[in-house]
Symmetry: C2
Subunit: 504 residues, 2 copies
Amino acid sequence: MNAPLAPNAVADVARSAERAARQQQVVAVLAPLLPAHALLWHHEDTVPYECDGLTAYRQLPLCVALPETEAQVAAVLKACHALSVPVVARGAGTGLSGGAMPHALGVTLSLAKFNKIVQIDRLARTATVQCGVRNLAISEAAVPLGLYYAPDPSSQIACTIGGNVAENSGGVHCLKYGLTLHNVLRVRGYTVQGEPVEFGSEALDTPGLDLLPLIVGSEGMLAVTTEVTVKLTPKPQLARCIMASFDDVRKAGDAVAAVIAAGIIPAGLEMMDKPMTAAVEDFVHAGYDLDAAAILLCESDGTPEEVAEEIDRMLDVLSGCGATRLEVSKDEAQRLKFWSGRKNAFPASGRISPDYMCMDSTIPRKRLADILLAIAEMEKKYGLACCNVFHAGDGNLHPLILFDANDPDQLHRCELFGADILETSVAMGGTVTGEHGVGVEKLSSMCVQFAPEEREQMFAVKRAFDPMQTLNPGKVIPTLQRCAEYGKMHVKKGLLPFPELERF
Amino acid sequence: MNAPLAPNAVADVARSAERAARQQQVVAVLAPLLPAHALLWHHEDTVPYECDGLTAYRQLPLCVALPETEAQVAAVLKACHALSVPVVARGAGTGLSGGAMPHALGVTLSLAKFNKIVQIDRLARTATVQCGVRNLAISEAAVPLGLYYAPDPSSQIACTIGGNVAENSGGVHCLKYGLTLHNVLRVRGYTVQGEPVEFGSEALDTPGLDLLPLIVGSEGMLAVTTEVTVKLTPKPQLARCIMASFDDVRKAGDAVAAVIAAGIIPAGLEMMDKPMTAAVEDFVHAGYDLDAAAILLCESDGTPEEVAEEIDRMLDVLSGCGATRLEVSKDEAQRLKFWSGRKNAFPASGRISPDYMCMDSTIPRKRLADILLAIAEMEKKYGLACCNVFHAGDGNLHPLILFDANDPDQLHRCELFGADILETSVAMGGTVTGEHGVGVEKLSSMCVQFAPEEREQMFAVKRAFDPMQTLNPGKVIPTLQRCAEYGKMHVKKGLLPFPELERF
């Protein structure tokens, strides 16, 4: 006779049996709706879908549906709705906050096969594409017309426009050209009930309640996007970049604010601190000034006349703010070299530390120097180093905390360090995420950002689209209970007082 | 003994008595919450509030509350909520679609006293102002910093920023500088329950569901705005304007699309047809070409170098599209003279016809010539003349139908003409309102624009903010019943078939 199972193991077996039964039921319902190759449920087939770019959290879905037509999307959604099965839509899976992480009792709806460019309209200067078209593929298709799609997240080779809509993606050039929100005209898709729905229009404004900007950035919680119409932007004739050195981070931060206050809107305005330039220069030899406490990259694009005039004005402002060295790219090769360092900041960090954690928060532009100095204090407090790279013009920080994940104490200190950065950002009037979304990663941070009434208002809007809450459930908006637990955890760990937490 | 009242009169008396009793009750509850001079309910005091800029519809409210502090706003909202009394917020009352028309059994909440500029932040390039501050007053306050608030509705001397937020106002320059939506960072206010609420932030993006763009343009249905933070824009160094003549409206329409397709984003791009220029020239002598079938005004602003380069490019494109005459403003006086005609289009129409009805619809830019030709056909069909003035760059039409309101048949034909323009705009992929809002004026047109499921989705979002539907009720979103009646009326009048109406 076998020994009896421990109580926990009994519960596990029961859960596992329940899950298997549910899987059998859902697969039986979906199988007649899809071609045989378009429904995956065997362990080895679903493993590639267990996480997105946030690999720290993994979960197998009940099954993965890969519809090829809009009718199949509608049919899958209707069937799941009838069974009250959660549905998680997925693009390329490049998201960094776990927005496409599967639900243990849900269906992952991959839209990878919706990869056609429907129409490019030269006169209206728009592109209509299926949701699974890659960000960069839109620009490539528009090359013959001298146009491109402006938002350029660093994952643009791989990420899809449907995912960009879900996350309201930005990029290096969004200071001048806006986020996804500012470059999308219309979204077509399906409600959680499987009904067709359209938001926005090609016209100037939408009468009544304009639901399009609500859909953009809603992280797959309100509807499933299948087709997107985007604005195309004329390719600038020329771009040049200034590299400016400062001997003090406060001066560099103030220079960013001064460029903007002078009425200039650069095509890009990025900042790196000394530890970051050191790591990068050793890796890609971009020609960075290793003596500088911080460097700025300031780009201008447009006609040659505009660029010449704007570069001159920026040089004046940067000198006035105490830049110790100023270098303007002489040609396209040198401009790309300047940027190669910025674009390799993440892998460069990987070379100097066993692990790093990339944060994503925002602050009002004028607080740049303050947050940098606060992070320097935190390095001492938590005993860990941090490299800083910023979309400075937008006030969007990407601090990279260096640590060794094999040392549990370092991991713990890194988590506290990260939470401290996010909460300090909020205290300075910023937000807990700039462009990576909330997903599952930032759920607890949302407790710091928003009061209970504000979160309840978001839930109310969520229910207005998805009354049963089966579309990407458990993400983005934390429950009252979760926030209460997060508050207690903070008290226990001695991280309080944060003024925001007194709300609970 | 008096003769018995007729049944209708009995009902009227009963309604009137019910209203008087409700008025007494509401005034009794609100009086202790406000200074004596801040609550109006006598007939002569409430008459000035019976309509907004849409004077065709008038209704006295139960009373008018003029709170002076946020605490008073909250108290009035709480009290009205407890009594289930409708509340209609009101700014300067310049709206053209009746969005601020009172509710017969409701309270009009005038925010006229919230007229303080709270802060102008030079480094962040923002202004924080109370909701009752006039649009132009923001720009005037920013003059010392060389900045201004870009959206410029033609009512900008009088209209308030709170009203601009409610209507998502545009203006002549919104093609380049965006609508209110693109220039507002944060809105503070109160829910219908009287709880404080804040949407957006000064940071790049808002985590979770971004409710700010939903509030902008929601026509006072979701929350009451008390404070707004807006972006300020650097004042351009120079502006110049091209006046271009065409001997054919199709060529003029195509030229608008060609300017945009060439990658130019003019600061303004306006179009007037021959009847319009004739009416205007006779009135203000702006120097318009009276032989032209249509003229375009194309403005460029920026640094002198940018303006020179952009004007040259626009001249090339306009010549290539067959412009018969091109004139560039030589100095600021001539530029303002060019614009004086455009800005006086409405009063000029009033001089040549007893009455005119101004429509407001949008179409995709490339359909400009098509809608102009369709309107020319409608002039014959309805036997009425129409002058056309367009925010052409945005595809926003303002046809002015000329008629005599004292002739019931002309009035009736004018209404049919107007409905035909709106529905043809929708059929061409446009919308029933560009910048004037839906209010009460366009309620029926919303039946044409949106399917029942789309309207139900808007109601669901409305209920997520206002479950009892007491905040500006009966506006913007038509009920199913209203649309059914509108559909029947259309059939009766022989206006069908419109493909959109087959939905009902």
